[in-house]
């Protein structure tokens, strides 16, 4: 009897917990465009981090000046193309 009672309580709690969102009025879906922008911003952050890492490697003496300049320039190019896309998307949204 005790087990049946416990089962009933558990069942009621679970069912109540699950159906509660279904009783709400319509809920808006998240903005996917915003998510794409977030991903681009993340890419920008990763590239900036790589520029800083290359600088550190150069200062440590792990990268020659030639390697450092080439790496930095190519990363800067990547960063500027990502920034352009972010700006374009931000303008479209406004």
């Amino acid at each position: 009897m005790y087990a049946e009672f416990m089962l009933l309580i558990t069942f009621v709690i679970i069912v109540g917990f699950i159906i509660q969102p279904l009783l709400l009025k319509k809920v808006d879906k998240p903005d996917y465009e915003e998510i794409t922008l977030e991903t681009l911003k993340l890419s920008k952050k990763v590239i900036y981090k790589q520029i800083k890492e290359a600088e550190m490697e150069y200062e440590m003496g792990n990268l020659s000046e030639e390697d450092y300049i080439r790496t930095r320039n190519s990363l800067k190019e990547e960063a500027s193309s990502v920034i352009k896309i972010i700006e374009k998307k931000s303008v479209n949204r406004t």
């Binding site: 998510i35 993340l42 800083k52 490697e57 200062e59 990268l63 390697d67």
Partner: protein
């Protein structure tokens, strides 16, 4: 309580189906309320699994022998901690435990990402619910942990836990290993979600980086703890025997290690996107395959604590995962392919790629050797087993190449490394490696592999020390900091990089520890009290043999006095035990040798009490002098510390 536990698992099974259903309908209709309800059903499954696990643990502790599982794996004499660890000692309990850990992970994933990764989460939750569904099917249909004992039978005392499992390490090793095995389901779920949703950018990699590191660490620690348990408990003086179940845990660790490295390239360069998908799917498949090997009994293993007929179900699930994953990868192949190419062969990217190829090759070799008995039986009708020599022949040279790459990788620059940089970065470590090699040769080491390992270890240590030194020097110069403060700063600001270096240092220590095996010595004698023997410069005297009756076993305890250079060095007390000694059925009594070890930094004295002739009081004693074994365990600590540093979130970088 028993009915309650079993019914909770029934309801959880229904909820798993409901979760998948809600997510599928949400993806078709787009009504966000369905997604929210699906999130809650996913949490509901976990809640019910937690309750069911708690109920089983409660019954194990209370010795409720009306449950078949409790009667089979515990007895009234079983100590408290081993009653608790009995949860993963048997088939159905360990499957419930698998499910329990999976549910903990699922709960964290759902709660942590309830406002993030909206395009991925419906798929992530569905994939995780599908894995839960499979394990719920197992515990509901094939291996119910709440199954009552046969009708009409009253069990007064249970059969007790296997004596080999009554060891503190064994109480920790399986949960830690499971944390790793099960943990790979999270990156796998995100990978499949990325494929389903066609969100193949860096988002899914970003979401699973920490999970992967944690899981990889747990699996690594689980493997090391397993080796430590084997060393302490199995009484053969080793820690790795290339047993099929050991191999089963090593394989996902190898591909997982490759993945931990290759995701860095995807994160930084958006390259190797197909490869990363293949790697994480393979790693998860190998995790399930490991569980399949342990459960199915298709290969003979020292881990035959649990064998059953679950093999076909696992095989079916494995095939399903492979079929779905491969189809998805083929379907998304065009989108997955990276537009970027390697700029140079001499770059960190190619170093990582080479390291990946080696890891996967080693994994394939281990896979082949492990399954060879099954394959040979299927093809030729006779089971041909390959032993440790086969694995050592392959794994040792590959391991040495991997060790070498551990040193080369950090010295290569991203994109391209010029000749000038190469000379500057490699000259000092190469000199250190050569000097180490020559010193080892001078001290009498002549075998090729130990010499190479020590030389390369010197080279790798040289690269790592140089990396730390150069980083500290930059900060001291730039910010006028003390060397210690600079050390703390470079590590805290570049956690993944320097944490990785600490892990590499741990790997070096482990490899030196492996080399020690080549210099081990051992001998076995029949001794009476008062007899003295010599080994490796130690003089060993059997001073006494005592008898003692303990709660769950009877023990003979040998007292050994160890002297070195004529002076007392240490005492050892190896034991011969008979578990279940009060059982009237002599076949149920289990003999067990409890070893005693004296450990030092350079060598262990490992004593094994083989048997005793109670009429003549002559005992069989084996002594092993195991060299450098401590370095293997210290390397394990470095692995732990380094990964925790790499895993810890960092707010800023240099």
């Amino acid at each position: 309580m028993v009915v309650y536990g079993a019914t909770l698992l029934n309801i959880a099974l229904g909820l798993a189906v409901l979760t998948i259903g809600l997510m599928v309908v949400y993806l078709r209709k787009g009504d966000y309320r369905l997604f929210l309800a699906g999130q809650r059903t996913a949490l509901g499954i976990s809640f019910l699994v937690f309750l069911a696990t708690i109920i089983l643990v409660y019954n194990l502790l209370k010795s409720n022998f009306s449950i078949d599982y409790v009667a089979k794996y515990t007895s009234l004499e079983t100590p408290f901690v081993y009653k608790l660890s009995a949860l993963w000692a048997g088939q159905s309990g360990s499957l419930l435990f698998w499910l329990f850990i999976l549910s903990v992970y699922a709960t964290i994933v759902v709660l942590q990402n309830r406002f993030r990764y909206h395009q991925l989460m419906p798929y992530v939750i569905s994939v995780m619910a599908t894995i839960q569904l499979f394990f719920l099917l197992l515990v509901n249909i094939a291996a119910n942990p709440f199954k009552p004992v046969d009708a009409g039978i009253t069990v007064i005392d249970g059969m007790g836990l296997n004596p080999l499992l009554q060891n503190p390490t064994m109480a920790i090793h399986p949960p830690v290993l499971y944390l790793g095995y099960v943990g790979f389901s999270v990156p796998f779920a995100f990978a499949l979600a990325a494929l389903f949703s066609n969100r193949l950018d860096a988002m899914w990699i970003q979401s699973i980086r920490r999970w992967t590191l944690f899981t990889w660490l747990a699996l690594g620690c689980g493997i090391i703890l397993g080796g430590y348990w084997a060393y302490l408990e199995l009484g053969w003086g080793g820690y790795w025997a290339w047993d099929p179940v050991e191999n089963a845990s090593l394989m996902p660790w190898l591909t997982g290690t490759a993945f931990v490295h290759s995701i860095i390239i995807q994160e930084k360069k958006n390259m190797l996107r197909v490869w990363n998908m293949v790697l994480i799917i393979t790693t998860f498949v190998l995790s399930i395959f490991g569980t399949f090997l342990t459960r199915s009994g298709i290969v003979s293993s020292v881990h035959s604590f649990t064998q059953s007929t679950l093999g076909p179900m696992f095989l079916g699930f494995l095939l399903l995962i492979i079929a779905v994953s491969v189809s998805l990868i083929i379907f998304r192949l065009k989108d997955l392919r990276s537009e970027k190419r390697m700029e140079s062969f001499i770059s960190r990217e190619s170093g990582f790629l080479f390291n990946n190829v080696i890891f996967v090759s080693l994994c394939f070799a281990v896979f082949w050797g492990t399954l060879f008995p099954v394959i040979s039986e299927a093809v030729r009708g006779t089971k041909v087993t390959v032993g440790a020599p086969f694995f050592n022949q392959i794994a040792v040279p590959i391991g040495i190449i991997l060790l070498l790459l551990t040193g080369i990788g950090p010295l290569l620059a991203w994109r391209h490394t010029s000749r000038k940089s190469l000379i500057r970065n490699f000259s000092i470590p190469v000199v250190v490696g050569l000097v180490t090699f020559l010193i080892s040769f001078f001290f009498g080491i002549r075998s090729l592999y130990p010499l190479m390992t020590i030389g390369i270890s010197g080279f790798v240590t040289g690269t790592l020390v140089m990396e730390f030194y150069r980083g500290i020097r930059v900060r001291v110069k730039k910010f006028d900091e003390s060397p210690f403060a600079a050390f703390i700063r470079i590590v805290s600001k570049n956690r993944s990089r320097y944490g990785g270096y600490i892990v590499h240092l741990g790997i070096v220590l482990m490899f030196i520890g492996f080399v020690g095996k080549a210099f081990d010595e051992d001998n076995e004698w029949a001794l009476k009290v008062g007899d003295q023997v010599e080994i490796a410069g130690y003089s060993i005297t059997l001073t006494n043999v005592e008898e003692e009756e303990r709660p769950n076993h009877f023990a003979w305890i040998a007292s050994l006095r160890i002297e070195k250079n004529g002076k007392h060095y240490t005492d050892l007390y190896p034991e011969k035990r008979i578990y279940f000694h009060n059982n009237p059925d002599p076949n149920r009594r289990q003999p067990h040798s409890e070893v005693d070890i004296h450990s030092s930094f350079t060598e262990d004295i490992y004593s094994i009490f083989g048997r005793i002739d109670t009429e003549t009081d002559i005992i069989s004693l084996k002594i092993m002098v195991n060299r450098l074994i401590m370095l293997v365990w210290i390397g394990g600590y470095f692995l732990l510390i380094g990964t925790v540093i790499a895993f810890w979130p960092s707010k800023s970088s240099v």
